[in-house]
Subunit: 364 residues, 2 copies
């Protein structure tokens, strides 16, 4: 297990080494490691080397001038200036929160950004202000719309965070696909098959191939097939893409640039600037008093938590599993897998970081 | 086939007979028959007798005073005064549009309403103003959250309408369940089984029972089971419920009152007022010029329409099937099924309507 403070200190050093300001390095580190803490390992320090590769290829500006390029009382468009999404995201959410303070709600579309880590982090920033937070982002195309052979959408996640009174907040944070890509990667490493309904092959047939992209296939939208509502998952992913990409002036659909994976770094002809995000903040008391609302949220959460459950199971509230994981990992440290540790070792060597990279192994 | 104008004239007369104003009867008729036109038969005139039953039981106010009870520059809470959702909905959407005109976006939570017909109708009202429209509503509990035996959520639909330039608009309109309840009703009438993954039985196991509610079961969220992301469909339905019910002061979760089905009319202890809806309007030029945006939407739609398709299939844009149906039925009339015709005959007799109810049969 890697202690959280040790991983954070190391991660911050890497961001500083590629030119981040101290404040931005702190912020990017917090957002990135939050993914590991909440169990979304695919969006955490596993991506640190990828962000550095983005920088190496001139696609990440370590000192961006993040600015509002257009606004109304309740909206803004933000240009991320190729800054890291881990920093652009919280700053854009802050603008949404300020708008909501004045106008009741705030809605910010972002262009010229890249991967912003876990969507839930940004949505949860609204909670301490007694606001509902909403976040979405588009991403490089891995998903085939219903009946399509081509990959046209990213896993395009949505997160919504809602405050309660004595109960912990409601935090839904999910990809608009049958499964997050990180779960496919776990199967790939183990050499295991995927369940039918997660992916399709090059002919558009559902497949157990856990590496469908490599073989000309695609991930499937939430709903898996037409009979079980895949056109709804496709519609949801499309809404995320339009709000994040088309409203903001970012790329969208098949044009969203890939994250920094080897072989995908070539410059592309785009239809906009970088990756797009969309943030929303709604002040609770723009609708009813925050106390009233939060008491009813407690009642809502209590009712769902107490629903009769299938034998041996529990009815969970969105956010429960991630919160439990965060408590456990915050106390006991993060179980990084060997390929991630290796990538961190390489970063330590490259940047001549003082911390002995040999300590970065599990169980020591 | 029933000619559309004939069905509309009859429907309007029924609304007038139970005390609607002329304008409200027109509006309710337009919204209701739009569902039949777009192929969402379960939300059209099949429900006309149900609205009359709501009136009979004192749950529908034919002359409501629909009013804003709280507002900020970009938000409002509307009390529907037990008016029919078919009328409360468009009026609330109009308030959202007015808010968006001034503040960039408008967001209206509605309480004390009931069934508002098809969600897509209301969202599409934004299109002519170069705005994006968003609609959602909660509904009586038919859906079991992941691992729950209890029905805690309605089919809670979401609709989003986005304008394009030369292309028809993007209109996604879908329930947050694996299948709309109307499709189960079709199977019930035919005495056919449902595919696995649409519903669960009283023990929480997936079932082919097409009438699961009668037998202690429930509909399943979009995603069908945990392995295929049912917790995401549950999260989506929960978001719709919280925005529609908890923000507005309506009922929510298991407390949402049922539509007027026999045996469900008893007064309940509630946690709020009636059914809740949520409406949003976003002015496109609160983000970028409407022309720029709509050109990019044309490009988006064109790219998706031209994606390579599975043999014998076409990649559709959300809204395509409903638009095709509307053109066909607008020209050729509406194919009502016998039980619906019978319910309209009974209304004609009760209200002594002049139009000869014997004409209301298919193929005459």
């Amino acid at each position: 297990m890697i202690p959280v403070h040790q991983l954070k200190a190391f991660t911050k050093q890497v961001f500083l080494k590629i030119g981040f300001s101290d404040a931005d390095a702190d912020l990017a580190t917090t957002v990135l490691v939050q993914a590991d803490l909440r169990g979304v390992d695919s969006h955490g320090v596993a991506r640190l080397a990828g962000y550095v590769r983005l920088y190496d290829h001139g696609r990440l500006n370590p000192a961006p001038e993040i600015r509002v390029v257009h606004e109304t009382p309740s909206t803004a468009v933000v240009d991320g200036d190729r800054g890291v999404g881990l920093v652009v995201g919280p700053k854009a959410m802050q603008i949404a929160i300020e708008k909501a303070r004045m106008a009741g709600t705030g809605w910010v579309a972002v262009r010229n950004s890249n991967h912003f880590g876990i969507a839930g982090y940004h949505a949860m920033l609204a909670l301490e202000h007694d606001m509902i937070g909403l976040t979405m982002t588009n991403a490089a195309p891995l998903v085939a719309p219903t009946f399509s052979l081509d990959k046209m959408l990213g896993t395009n996640p949505i997160a919504v965070a809602v405050p309660a009174l004595t109960q912990p907040p409601f935090v839904a944070d999910f990809a608009s696909t049958a499964v997050a890509y990180g779960k496919m990667e776990i199967l790939q490493r183990k050499g295991q098959d995927a369940p039918l309904g997660w992916a399709q092959d090059a002919q558009g047939q559902t497949t157990t191939d856990a590496n469908p992209i490599k073989n000309g296939g695609a991930l499937l939208p939430l709903g898996s097939d037409r009979e079980h509502g895949s056109h709804k998952g496709y519609g949801l992913g499309a809404i995320v893409d339009i709000f994040s990409g088309v409203l903001s002036g970012a790329n969208y659909g098949p044009w969203v640039p890939p994250f920094a994976t080897a072989g995908f770094m070539a410059a592309q002809e785009g239809v906009g600037a970088g990756t797009g995000h969309f943030f929303g903040a709604m002040r609770i008391d723009a609708f009813r008093t925050a106390d009233d609302f939060k008491q009813h949220m407690d009642n809502w959460i209590g009712a769902f938590r107490n629903a009769r459950a299938v034998e041996g199971k529990t009815v969970l509230i969105p956010g429960d599993p991630e919160r439990a994981m965060e408590a456990e990992r915050g106390a006991n440290g993060l179980p990084l897998i060997e390929p991630v540790i290796q990538s961190l070792r390489e970063l330590a060597e490259r940047f001549e970081l003082k911390w002995d990279s040999t300590q970065m192994t599990n169980g020591q």
